[in-house]
Amino acid sequence: MKQIHGLHISEHKGHKELSLTHDMVEFLTPEFIYIPLIEQGSVCTPCVSVGDKVVVGQVVANKTGRFSLPVHSSVSGEVTSIDKKMWHAMGKMVSCIEIKNDYLETKSETIQSNDVNSLTREDIIEIMKNCGIVGLGGASFPTYVKNNVTQPIDHLLINAAECEPYINNDYFILKTNDLREKFIRGVKYAMIACGANDAVIAIKKNKKHLIEMLEEDLKDSPNIKLYYLNDVYPAGWEKYIVQHVTKKTYKNLPSEAGCVVNNVATLFSVCEAVEMNKPLIEKTVTFTGKGLKNPCVMYTKIGARVSECISQIKGYVEDLDPSNTYLIAGGPMTGRSIMFDTLVINRSFGSVIIMPKEEKKIELNCMGCGKCADNCPVDLSPILIKQAVEDKDKKAMQELCAFKCMQCGLCSYICPSKIELTEAVGKAKTALAAK
């Protein structure tokens, strides 16, 4: 079996350290919060109406579609609109429930501590569902679905790779002592939830101080092991981790290889949910990039606006030239540039990067070096797919398996002529899905 290699990203040296230069900022008092009524592409139906008083942790909407999931309010206050259009990290405006904060932090009655020792597997899965825990790695796949598998599970894999440049959410949790303890407890609950006997934390080799801290903490937990990943992109890809840890591969879901993969931030939320019944209403978000005065990791309410958060950390640098700067929601490899900073933080929102454009203009034909095909983690040939897209040749796109693309962005990253390959393959994928 061919191992996925990945590629070390050497550009933007010091990108990870940027947001670690300042302490974590806690910002739990946004003026308004906006709960997007769309998640994972499916619509959420609001269950409150304008004028209603809501409390922290109250269910305000329910996600429809294949995997239903409640959506909670992250502040207490009054619903002022249920169809407010706001910018979303997807790059378009979506309807949101607008809630005006009354700063009272009245908590819902459901938020109370559980008797942890008496919880069974089914209980934990039920808690995960009721608290609306989703995967915080970016895909926001409901965690209860992920853990509720029928196949026997050998390993619970914890994705601590965070291979996207700049982002530091998981590292921050691992670095901070009390957060790390919560995370380790979260690992134990997740092991019960998926029925795994042992857990493997996959972490990049070069994070030596984190590894030391984890080894120290895991002394008494022989069934939680560490696995060291190379410092490459996309080391945080589910398939990459499963393949490197278990030497097995799978087609659709990791459970085929006897694994369940969760990331660090998710397990942190799992811990809070299991112990306190606290829904997913707060999370860490990395605010970083050269365009910010104080890049940092922020612990904030879901639904807060990015502009408000940025003003909490002294705002942008003085000489910011917005027309020459990107505001990226998500990582620099897979994220999206958003035109306005009034976008809202949704559940799977990981980071905001304010990055000045440092671009060279290169307008050349493809010279056929084949670096895109060489580095593709799923063995596609992006340049040939691009040609098929230009020819509108659906058959060729199908034969070239454009649908296997996971949009990691490596092909566009590596292309010496700066051809927009990731975009082209994305188009092919859409064209194939539309058939």
Binding site: H12, N324, T334, I338, L400, S412
Partner: protein
């Protein structure tokens, strides 16, 4: 709170390697840097050293460098003119001229011309370079749509055009080599004289393996130095300009297949033979700088492997079974054609991960390649068995006897002077296809020689042999004059070439220096000397270098004379019954 910032929009990923590291411009710049050591070496080897040796003047000294620089300049100028004239509006403002310059630099116009100049033979006139550059750029590159669109490597298009049109105008020797190297051929040209020579025999005329590694052997201007090619390969791989797969697999395939040749020929230990092939004929230069040209080689990683294997097999096929000296350029051009189809098949196989389909595809490609490589190896090694026939001709009766060995059957064939077969001692070969085979071999090896004059000069006997070497020497006729002493020992020989305008003076003393194999040992000698010294053992003289065909003919003529003198000694022939006169 409601700020009016409008950020710019872009496409993921927002980090691009091309912005700070490797981009197409740096790749092409590094490629040229990789070529520079070879240009300098070419200048030192073909210009400076001959001048130090006093073999040439200043102009000849500067010529190799000038030639390479001009090559790059020509292709640049041609593309400049092309893009300037095809602009919407032709204006002679500074901006307009600069803009065209930028377009041409973005088309990397210098590289094909530089490469073309580097693979041309020395002493090519500059106007030939100009015409080849025009052909390379216009037909090889611009006709297809410019940079990134060409199917064939433009430099090779120019080179093949030059090969067809102007090859005769040039030689591969620099002034010093003309003085010191006797054979007048490049190592590969020499190889074609005898495909199955041993590795040491092939290398010997040009020095040692070290000369091949350093590049102090005759060849194209800048492609001879193996070490510099390897250093450039390391540099280009380190800078991620080229992919290591194509050069390594290409050279590896040639080595393995050439080793198979000696293996099937029963000389398993002769590693110098495959090494000779790797180090000569611009194979390393072609593998590193030509085969890796990204536009014309496959884009998929597995496609690159198939491409490189194909190159290796084709090069071996060309070297063993083609009269053309050059195998590398033609192989690369041939594989360029298949690049698109290789990419098409390999990209699908790689993405789909369908085990059955993958197996079928790779197995069929392997079968094609194996058949293509078995054919030349088999043909060459089989010919060697067949050609081990002995040639013997009876001098008196005008009946010629050929001792043949075909498929381990030894038998004799008798013919008259015109080559008509009168008797075959093995019935198996006297009819049908086998007879045709025998006829073909007789025709190939037919040599006519007879004693045209026999007289006594004092105590010595004088024998003149008229000899016609039919095939290889374009029916060259010459007469060899032998002198035997009273004890019937050969004492001297000389030749007068009957062909006008040939390489020989009227009275040519057969002073052909070279390397000869005698009783398995390689000795450096002159031909008459070795013939006189070994007159009783002529079958063991095997010319290796030098004008081998001519030398062979002289040895055969000597056999006729020596056999004739045996008959004289035994009384079969006397002056009374010797009647044959020159026809």
């Amino acid at each position: 709170m409601n700020s009016n910032l409008r950020f710019s929009l872009g496409k993921a990923p927002f980090i691009r390697k091309a912005d700070s590291g490797t981009n197409t411009y740096t790749i092409m710049r590094d490629f040229i840097i990789g070529l520079l050591p070879l240009v300098v070496f070419a200048w030192v080897k073909n210009g400076i050293i001959p001048m130090i040796n006093g073999d040439c003047g200043f102009y000849e000294m500067i010529y190799p460098l000038l030639f390479c620089v001009l090559g790059g300049f020509f292709t640049y100028a041609i593309e400049y003119i092309y893009y300037f004239l095809t602009k919407e509006k032709i204006t002679f403002t500074k901006e307009s001229l600069l803009e065209t310059h930028k377009v041409v630099m973005g088309s990397f116009a210098i590289i094909p011309g530089l490469l073309l100049a580097m693979i041309m033979p020395l002493n090519t006139p500059i106007w030939v370079l100009l015409i080849s550059s025009i052909f390379a750029t216009l037909i090889g590159k611009l006709l297809f749509g410019g940079f990134g669109c060409n199917i064939f490597n433009p430099a090779l298009v120019g080179y093949l055009f030059f090969g067809v049109a102007y090859q005769g105008l040039t030689s591969f020797m620099n002034p010093t080599e003309i003085e010191t190297i006797i054979t007048g051929a490049t190592p590969l040209g020499n190889f074609h004289n005898n495909i199955l020579s041993s590795g040491s025999e092939l290398i010997a005329p040009y020095g040692t393996v070290w000369d091949f590694l350093l590049g102090t052997i005759p060849g194209s201007i800048a492609e001879t130095s193996a070490i510099l090619c390897i250093i450039s390969f390391a540099w280009l791989t380190y800078r991620k300009v080229i992919n290591w797969k194509i050069p390594v697999i290409y050279v590896g395939t040639v080595f393995v297949l050439m080793y198979a040749v000696v293996l099937f020929d029963g000389r398993g230990g002769d590693l110098l033979y495959p090494l000779f092939h790797v180090l000569s004929g611009g194979l390393l230069f072609g593998a590193v700088f030509m085969a890796t040209e990204p536009v014309t080689s496959p884009k998929t990683p597995n496609g690159k492997v198939v491409y490189a294997l194909g190159l290796g097999v084709l090069t071996v096929l060309m070297r063993l079974k083609s009269n053309a000296v050059e195998g590398v350029a033609t192989s690369i051009m041939a594989m360029n054609i298949f690049t698109l189809i290789i990419d098409r098949i390999c990209s699908r196989v790689r993405a789909q991960k369908n085990l059955k389909k993958t197996l079928i595809t790779y197995v069929s490609i392997a079968v094609i390649l194996i058949v293509l490589s078995i054919y030349p190896i088999n043909a060459v090694t089989k010919t060697s068995v067949k050609s081990s026939q002995n040639f013997e001709a009876s001098s008196i009766s005008e009946v010629y006897k050929y001792s043949l060995t075909i498929e381990n059957n030894k038998f004799d064939v008798f013919t008259d002077q015109d080559g008509n077969i009168s008797k075959i001692t093995n019935d198996k070969y006297s009819s049908g296809e086998n007879l045709e085979e025998v006829k073909k071999m007789i025709k190939q090896n037919q040599r006519f020689g007879f004693v045209s004059k026999f007289y006594k000069d004092g105590e010595n006997y004088k024998v003149n042999v008229n000899y016609l070497s039919s095939v290889e020497q374009n029916n060259r006729k010459f007469t060899v004059y032998f002198t035997f002493d009273k004890n019937y020992k050969l004492t001297s020989l000389y030749v007068i070439d009957k062909e006008d305008g040939g390489d020989y003076d009227e009275s040519y003393d057969m002073y052909i220096p070279g390397f000869y194999e005698y009783n398995g040992e390689i000795v450096e000698d002159v031909l008459p000397g070795i013939i006189v010294d070994n007159q009783n053992d002529l079958y063991n003289i095997k010319p290796i270098t030098g004008a081998t065909t001519t030398s062979n003919a002289f040895v055969e003529a000597t056999k006729i004379a020596v056999n004739f003198m045996k008959d004289v000694k035994s009384g079969k022939v006397s002056f009374d019954n010797y009647v044959l006169e020159a026809k």
